[in-house]
Symmetry: none
Subunit: 193 residues, 4 copies
DNA sequence: AATGAATGAGAATTCATTCAT
DNA sequence: AATGAATGAATTCTCATTCAT
């Protein structure tokens, strides 16, 4: 693993452990097992490191999200895959969602840039929804309104697990997932089936 | 407004504006228009201030969430009220959700304490759901699984608005809200109606 | 003495002792017997401290230069006073000339600003020369050409003393001083006397 | 040009541009277009580099000062040559005087060593003055007192030009030069002429 | 109760120097 | 000989906290 990646991984670990509250270059250096000066060979300063970490995390998250995706899968299979990937992804790195939120506060990290970046990494998911809308398979709502009642439920549920409020249960999980799929279906279209 | 409240309000403002990144007692003192020393008359130290801020924000959020709640309202009316209150509450203080996440990282702020505190502030909502489950009006799922596909959609949608991805639209909003209500209804129960 | 002055004095001492080579805020703080943080209460940063030091030194030098000046003195008495003040001033703070040179290298310290400042502090001397030129008492040269062969000799001589090349000797000193006065006299004017 | 000379030249450039304030081995390496490690092949460390630079600058200055010097020239011609060489030398490398001053602050660079070195490089000029004194052509003053009212005026005038206070003018320049020559002549001796 | 100057530990950053290639 | 990545001590600067007024 390259020094750069080593440092980025260490940064995520430190941030997830201590938060910004105690995110120091010293801690990162120790966690990455490099000298402090080495960090500055790869990143101009703390701010730059955090910006790069932002991208790094989002890219990694996107990769995990689409793990197993094949164009040959049916729409429902694709949905199930992504919904479950998201659920497990949040659970496996429970602090990440918070990290992503926190990284919004890094100076010079602007929403529009982040959105552009997200557009690219989540393009496949956005396209999937847009096709559903265009083909009348899904309700004729705004894409992001559909999101909030379907895909986002996987994240909402995972958060309840993280908070210790909910024990994941395979059967019930499938029910939630299927309900979130059902809710966005266009009744008219499915009658045609 | 008491000096204490003045300081807590200023703290939220500073935190929402600069994040932890630049959350200093100096900034808080300036925003609250008091001397630094004065903060220490009301809060033992920075950590204590942040813990109190955590409670302060949650209490305020809870109050806003149940604004207009009356026991005489019907179940659906109660749901609509809370769903919409949550939606507008997130929109009116868009950084709050992140603040709440970030405050988890303050040392000596433990998940179990927070959960206990949340249990109290959101008791009414939890009870509302539990009654729905017990009376078979809602699906026989875990309370928090229900949450994730119903109430949580208001927050997911508000977040899309904050991200600039979605323009709130009264008609569509109601559709989302109603769909999130519909999805947790027990079909057997409603047939009885 | 105010803390600010304490710090400026200490800064000159440290700079004169170690040069920029080892001019650290730590050294200044120790020499001024204050905490490092205290320096930052009076000066925004190291650069600002050096800029203020520049002014401080120049003001002090100007005060010493004109010590004893009275409008009632004759032209020659005024010249002798300033020439000798300059000579002793350089000798009493032998590193100052170098400091002044070095301070030109502080970023954001620009020649035009310095000249404006010098114009004010040395105004009396410039006026004195200008009157000499206008009244035809002095040679009809450029003011600063006159300077270089008269007033500047006091500094050139003092530097030789500092370098250990020359032992000041009251009688000879007067000869140099008087020669430097003689050289700028306008022969035509003095014939009129 | 040898790598060593390349590095010394780059050192002067960097020093003249940024001062000690930002004189780093990194900057020198970039300016010299060599790798940092290469500097250490030619100079033991930064201090050694600066000491060598000191010599390098002084040797170069001495060479320029006596450029065109021939024993066959008359005393006045020699004086004019050196006076003007000095004047143009200061103007062509305006930061050098300050550099030389600043290099005094490099640790282990002692005044006596520097004087010894100067004695060698300026020997010709010192001898010239001493012969003038011995032959009664010049005033019977200390050598360095004579210096301050004659040769040093060329440097004083050049400094006024650097400061932007004076525009060099060929005719006037000669007047200043000649006046500085006239002032050190022994009237008794010249009557003999 | 309120103030804000003073403190100094700790964080970010720089940079001389080393050393494996 | 030449390179430049890696190091970590030293430096600048910040900021929580104290305390005399």
């Amino acid at each position: 693993m390259s020094k750069r990646t080593q440092i980025l991984n260490a940064s995520e670990t430190v941030l997830a452990t201590y938060g910004f509250y105690a995110f120091s270059m010293q801690h990162v250096a120790e966690a990455a097992e490099v000298a402090i000066g080495t960090i500055y060979r790869y990143f101009a300063n703390k701010e730059a490191l955090l910006c790069e970490l932002n991208k790094f995390i989002r890219e990694d998250a996107a990769a995990k999200l689409f793990n197993g995706w094949q164009d040959s899968l049916s729409a429902k299979e694709k949905y199930d895959l992504v919904w479950e990937n998201a659920f497990h992804c949040v659970l496996s790195t429970p602090k990440r969602l918070t990290l992503i939120e926190m990284l919004h506060f890094v100076p010079n990290m602007h929403q529009t840039e982040i959105n552009l970046f997200e557009d690219q990494t989540f393009k496949r998911l956005f396209d999937f929804y847009q096709q559903g809308i265009d083909s009348k398979r899904f309700l004729d709502w705004d894409l992001f309104a559909l999101f909030s009642v379907s895909f986002d439920t996987s994240i909402a549920l995972a958060k309840q697990v993280i908070r210790g409020r909910y024990e994941p249960n395979q059967t019930e999980l499938k029910k939630v997932r299927d309900a979130s799929w059902a809710i966005i279906q266009n009744p008219d279209f499915n009658q045609q089936d």
